[in-house]
Amino acid sequence: MWDWGFALEILPTLAKAAIVTVQVTLLGFLIALSLGLALAAARIMQPWTAVPISLAVELIRSTPLLIQIFFLYFVGPSFGLTLDAMTAGILAIGLHYAAYCSEVYRAGFESVPRGQWEASVALNLGRWTTLRDIIIPQAIPPVVPALGNYLVALFKETPLLSAIAVMELMQSAKIIGSQTFRYNEPITLVGLFFLVMSLASAWAIRRVEAGINRRYRR
């Protein structure tokens, strides 16, 4: 049933793939965090962007990530956008989660009392200075847990990239399986890896949260 020798033998291959998975996760989340913040900020600073942005966000949230990955990778070239699988995958995941994150940031912005904007006007602070120094430092700490949840969710969706043959964990496990006709070890190990990493990141997020609470919520 379970062959320890085989498990040990495939471990290096899976470890290499795990690095790809982590890379996709971190880069994708970086895009999601920064683009999400930019979108949420744009809605506040330039009210005319609110309608196009919410349409785009709705479009992304209402279609499956898998389709978006395929679209970017296979349909992109007909629009002159040719990307390698890894780039297309990271971009698709990043865009997808940027849409979710922008809504989280928006809730954060809305939780800042209007009086903070008014005090900033009364002090003659510029709008961008107000956003950067006054609003964002208050808007983000309360939404860190929600953003953290999306980090874990994004991480767990990276196996979708196996559909465009990115050499991440799932793809490696599938290849090992089809070559050796043994699926028990590779699939179980991949599952275990996700379990451990998810728990570890949930723990890390709690630490960040606690740190932020100490610093900002007095």
């Binding site: 009392p113 005090a119 006007v121 002090l123």
Partner: protein
């Protein structure tokens, strides 16, 4: 009177079909202390908020030292002002709010140096020196490193006053600054305002429910009712012998309450 510091000329403000201020004309001299009183919904806070550019105006002109606030002169005509113009005129005005509105993620000192550094371009040393002078004046120097949530309401409001003064405004607006305070904390804030009136040649415009303070402190009282100034005058005369029926009713009601 010399050139007025602030003047409202036929200023009208509407929210939908509700007219909050109806053709307001009000002129405030340099260094004058004006108390605005009246029942809630009479438009008195709106006067301050329009002057602070927190509300747009639907008609008329507000001038600060003769310069229109929401309009600017271009080719001999008044056109709606751009941001640069509004910021230039707004720099002369400071405001203290009912709910303090201190920045909760900054200490008392940081609250007081943020705008002087970012808007006036002061160095940190200069901004801190200025802030410490003011925190000292409001009796909060020993709380410089406290966060707002670690301060009482009265202390927060005193920091808010210092923060506004750090921008060296010529006009200070006080919007019901003691209304959110526990009764025993009202005195310390009024004490600071009193000091301000004596120490600075500052124009002050305050919306208040503290009739005793208005009577003692203000050079002039304006009684607002339904978006108009119903009666204005010297406090002594106004409080002892109001001429208008509505003023009399209001004062009677306020005195009975407390």
């Amino acid at each position: 009177m010399t050139e007025p510091m602030v003047s409202f000329e036929n200023v009208t403000k509407r929210y939908g079909t509700l007219t909050v201020l109806d053709n307001l004309n009000l002129t405030i001299g340099r260094g004058e202390k004006v108390a605005i009183i009246g029942p809630s919904g009479s438009g008195k806070t709106t006067v301050l908020r329009m002057l602070m550019t927190l509300e747009t105006i639907d008609g008329g002109v507000i001038r600060v030292e003769g310069e229109p606030l929401t309009h600017m002169e271009r080719g001999g005509k008044l056109v709606p002002a751009d941001q640069a113009h509004i910021r230039k005129v707004r720099a002369k005005i400071g405001m203290v709010f009912q709910s303090f509105n201190l920045f909760p993620h900054m200490t008392a000192l940081q609250n007081c140096i943020e705008a002087p550094m970012k808007v006036l371009g002061l160095s940190r040393e200069k901004a801190e020196a200025r802030a410490m002078d003011l925190l000292d004046m409001v009796g909060m120097a020993n709380r410089r490193d406290y966060y707002p949530s670690q301060l009482s309401g009265g202390q927060q409001q005193r920091v808010a006053i210092a923060r506004a003064l750090a921008m060296r405004p010529k006009v200070m607006l006080f919007d019901e600054v003691t209304s959110a305070l526990d009764p025993e904390l009202v005195g310390e804030v009024l004490q600071v305002i009193r000091k301000l009136g004596a120490e600075h040649d500052l124009t002050m415009l305050m919306v208040t429910h503290q009739m005793g303070f208005a009577k003692e402190f203000a050079d002039r009282v304006c009684f607002f009712h339904s978006g108009r100034i119903c009666e204005e005058g010297e406090p002594q005369a106004f409080f002892t012998n109001p001429q208008n029926e509505r003023s009399r009713q209001f004062l009677r009601a306020v005195l009975e309450a407390g």
